[in-house]
Symmetry: C2
Subunit: 251 residues, 2 copies
DNA sequence: TGTCGTGATCTGTGATCACAGTTAGGTTGG
DNA sequence: CCAACCTAACTGTGATCACAGATCACGACA
């Protein structure tokens, strides 16, 4: 999931026999991605943030990031602008852009919002999930168990699998704007949540998370929306409680 | 609420007697705003969007906006970047940035999310509201009634008062991130919601909105969280139903 | 008369430059 | 030995320029 940004411009050729017009072939090719450079940098920074690979308080320099990614300063500016608008980054008035350091109050507010929003998503997912959705969730759950219970635990893989598991669930709700909202919440809470998970991949997390995931999966299979919500809320609450104990939060 | 952008650079002087250090006077002055140009443009576009003064489907040109606001293209780019990240604007792959045209499904999803999130905010506000908060809500409610029931109705004032009323309520919950979430929802739904309200300031809106507001205020005064949520949900649902009837939504 | 090529014009994107303000580190004065 | 100053490097912000791609209107060909 590191997905290094490629400075090389994406190809947009596909000559497709200029003389002929074969309707079936034309319909087959589907709207090539055409992602802008700024969007790619945004995606890169987002994945670093939710994975906890950028620590709270860490300072970023537009020029340094640009150089590291092999692009000009311009796309980085755009990416930082967007992320700052989301509250995922913070531009101090005078100088420097950094990863925000959450206060205890801010973290608790974020947790409450996650309970409300992700709880709703879990309910809806339990009602709408297709068998294919459930299969995907199961696969990520297996990956998470394996990464978390390995010896030594693969913390990076566990973080990734945990994220994939949750979002596979939320995507089953089939509400795009809801997913955007949740992504924004994860973007804000990701740095502390996953930075910690990387350091202590086992502990309480290992046990309670796996148990909550199992209950969650069971509830989704039974289409029991309230039970799915309850399981997910326990998962979130347990992780939050663990973070508060370690206490890396500002006063 | 039109708050035209001033091209003139904000002063940041305040020499303050370079030789002396008067602690009491220094503590009195409080961190002068120092808003960046891009932020000001963002705010201007945001207020235009939530007020419904930019119609869905309307196309914007960075250069035109920049010229109209008397700034360079650069701050406009930043503002559009942020708003596009929020989904409040849409940058088409090839060319042009425009106000998104919601499909019926998208509008319904937005409405469901508003019910969940703003409903929660209303509950929390009913529990936490101080007398000062209630006073502010009452004032905006009075302004809304006056604007809506005037002859002819003052649609612009009604839209502004309605927004102020709702956000005065949400601010009583004292959850900053929650307010950001709601602002984002309003940014997406604002263009259709308020564009319509400007055209038909009376109709069903006039009656049901005033009634819902009255019930809402009564519930908050009694600290009845469920009743506050119910009143707000009725307000949102009635407005949404009205929009769906007029049917300016994409298939 | 309808359709397709074709050019001018305008679009957002990216790069580069200029600048005010801040920070950090070294140096000087006490 | 500590504090204050002062300079040099670096910060984000804004402006300007260059460019590929899209749109639109006009005109030629069928």
């Amino acid at each position: 999931m590191t997905a290094a940004v490629q400075p090389s411009r994406t190809a947009f050729e596909q000559p497709a026999s200029p003389g002929e017009t074969d309707a079936s072939a034309l319909d087959a090719i589907g709207a090539l991605p055409r992602e802008t450079l700024g969007e790619r940098v945004t995606g890169e920074l987002r994945s670093l943030l939710v994975a906890g690979r950028l620590a709270p308080g860490e300072k970023l320099s537009l020029r340094r990031v640009a150089e590291a990614l092999g692009v000009s300063m311009m796309p980085v500016r755009e990416a930082v602008s967007r992320l700052a608008a989301d509250g995922a980054l913070e531009v101090l008035p005078g100088r420097a852009v950094r990863v925000p350091v959450l206060s205890l109050a801010q973290f608790r507010e974020l947790t409450r919002l996650r309970l409300v929003v992700e709880g709703f998503a879990a309910e809806e997912a339990a009602r709408q999930a297709t068998p294919a959705d459930i299969d995907r969730i199961v696969a990520f759950d297996a990956a998470f168990r394996q990464a978390a219970s390995a010896d030594p635990p693969d913390s990076a893989a566990a973080v990734a699998a945990n994220r994939d598991l949750h979002f596979a669930l939320y995507e089953a709700a089939a509400m795009p704007s809801l997913i955007e909202m949740i992504e924004r919440l994860w973007l804000k809470a990701g740095p502390i949540l996953n930075l910690d998970m990387r350091h202590e991949p086992r502990r309480l997390e290992g046990g309670s998370a796996m148990q909550a995931h199992a209950r969650l999966l069971d509830a989704v299979r039974r289409r029991d929306a309230p039970a799915a919500r309850a399981a997910l809320e326990d998962d979130i609450a347990a992780a939050a409680a663990h973070i508060e104990e370690t206490g890396q939060l500002r006063a």
